[in-house]
């Protein structure tokens, strides 16, 4: 089992050139092994937040701490970190296996173990049959699974996902959600999952954070009150509806507060 990482944000400030204040004084603590969903209106600063946690951008003020250490790409922390983008962003000239092996290749892992780990990761997302196909020969859902396998291949302790399945149809998305939930139950890495979809957040996460309009503040920090083992049928239950109702209400409140 891979232990997850702790993420602490304190008084984060991020202003873009041109004076767009995306984040103004945000505090957040995520415990090791937590699965946290981030919900918020479009343009409120969710992607910005995730990039700060990844160390891809630096805040003007405040601190991003990962296991108590400042988030920096240069330090060894990136070994345990993976990022999944909204679209698959695969290398079109590489087949599925070589795409999934890319992170290990860049980290300098030898060809033998690299291929083995990549093969396992591809299997895990159910794409063994497509191992040697090229991205152009895959469906959107398959490409996203490759992207997920590429993130999982390094056994990350902190997994950041930015609306990863937003472009997919409902059924495919639910399938991927279940797959991701399964991976988390098995490995218990820390996950920050940005989404627009309330039902997705409720189904996936242990805890949901609802953000206001830009600059983002936390309007609701809610522990999802659902069993650990979740299957597709859960989505039809009253308990599930109660969870989504609370998130929906908070999302509306955050949207109003932002305009005021």
């Amino acid at each position: 089992m891979v232990p997850g990482r702790a993420v602490t944000l304190s008084r984060i400030q991020k202003t873009f050139p041109g004076g767009v204040q995306a984040i103004a004084g945000l505090d957040l603590h995520v415990a090791p092994g937590e699965f946290v969903a981030l919900l918020g209106p479009s343009g409120c600063g969710k992607s910005t937040l995730l990039r700060l946690v990844a160390g891809l951008d630096q805040p003007e003020g405040g601190q991003v701490l990962i296991d108590g250490q400042p988030a920096r790409l240069q330090s060894g922390q990136r070994q345990g970190l993976a990022f999944v983008f909204q679209d698959a962003h695969l290398l079109p000239w590489r087949d599925v296996l070589a795409n999934v092996a890319l992170p290990l290749e860049l980290m300098g892992v030898a060809a033998g173990p690299r291929r083995k780990a990549a093969g396992l990761a591809v299997e895990q997302v159910g794409l063994s049959d497509a191992m040697h196909r090229y991205p152009a020969q895959l469906s959107g859902g398959m490409r996203m699974r490759v992207s997920l396998a590429r993130a999982m291949v390094t056994n990350p302790q902190l997994l950041l996902l930015d609306e990863p399945f937003a472009a997919l149809d409902e059924i495919t998305r639910q399938g991927l959600d279940e797959q991701l939930r399964g991976l988390w139950l098995e490995r218990r890495m820390t996950i920050l999952f940005v989404t627009h979809a309330i039902a997705e957040a409720a189904f996936l996460a242990q805890r949901a954070l609802v953000l206001t309009r830009r600059p983002a503040r936390v309007v609701l920090d809610h522990t999802i009150d659902l069993p650990l083992q979740r299957s597709g049928s859960l989505r039809g239950t009253p308990q599930f509806a109660a969870q989504t109702a609370q998130l929906y209400e908070a999302l509306q409140r955050g949207d109003r507060d932002g305009t005021a």
Binding site: R51, A54, L56, L73, R78, L81, A82, F83, F85, D87, H89, L91, P92, W93, L102, P103, E105, L106, M107, Y134, P135, A136, T154
Partner: protein, 257 residues
């Protein structure tokens, strides 16, 4: 790919048909004496000139082929290399790009005599001319390709601590290949034109020199024979670059499928 043979036929037949038809029309026009033969030599006479003058035209074609190939290869090497240098630093790009544009507009006829003074009467001068005329599209397209690397993928490479070299060879260059191939398609034809124009000015060897001489003697049939060969050479270059593009890109570039 069970349909590949019929599709070759389908691809090849229309242009060949157009060629034969226009030849027949040209022949007809001259046979009917609508235009005097010294102005528009009938295709039969052009073919005869090609046959009779082959001892001159054959080696000339071979010379031009080698010179334009060498100039083209030089363009690809220098153009892609310069583009890589330019994207490695904003400063280098700003400092040198205006001079690259110079290559696009340089009147090769005007500077060919200078090239002779600098590089002599031999093949080097022709190669340099082909290079000068064809480098800009390679450079400009390679630069466009290298500058439009997917930012998310750049982030991904950063996240896993990729070196500059790894990012260049595993991401930026392969991602720029479709653009680079577009540049090569344009450059191939230009290299042939550059070589022939320089040969006409230098007047020593190659198709250009043969053309210039035939024109001076008013051997229109030989002029047309030379033009025909130049056209086929350009076509050959085009086919070569397309083959190269197909080999490099067939797996992933949508326009190659």
């Amino acid at each position: 790919m069970a349909t590949s043979r019929p599709s070759w036929l389908r691809l090849g037949l229309p242009p060949v048909a157009v060629f034969l038809a226009s030849m027949a029309i040209a022949q007809g026009i001259v046979e009917l004496k609508l235009v005097p033969a010294w102005l528009l030599p009938p295709p039969t006479r052009v073919l005869a000139a090609l046959w009779n003058q082959w001892s001159v035209l054959g080696p000339a074609l071979w010379f031009t082929t080698r010179a334009s190939l060498a100039g083209f290869a030089l363009s690809v090497l220098v153009g892609v290399g310069a583009a890589v240098l330019m994207v490695s630093s904003r400063w280098v790009q700003r400092a040198f790009y205006p001079y690259a544009v110079f290559f696009q507009t340089v009147p090769i006829i005007a500077i060919a005599p200078l090239l002779v003074i600098w590089f002599g009467w031999g093949m080097q001068t022709i190669i340099i001319a082909a290079f000068i005329v064809s480098i800009f599209p390679v450079l400009a397209n390679a630069l466009t390709g290298l500058l439009s690397t997917d930012p998310a993928l750049k982030d991904l490479f950063r996240l896993y601590g990729a070196s500059r070299w790894a990012t260049l060879f595993k991401l930026r260059l392969p991602a720029a290949l479709p653009s680079i191939m577009t540049g090569l398609r344009i450059a191939g034809g230009l290299a042939v034109i550059g070589a022939i124009v320089a040969e006409m000015v230098v007047g020593q060897s190659g198709l250009g020199a043969a053309l210039a001489e035939a024109r001076q003697r008013q051997n229109t049939d030989v002029v047309f024979a030379g033009v025909l060969l130049a056209a086929f050479l350009g076509l050959g270059f085009f086919a070569l670059v397309n083959l190269l593009a197909h080999l490099v890109l067939h797996r992933w570039h949508a326009s190659e499928q």
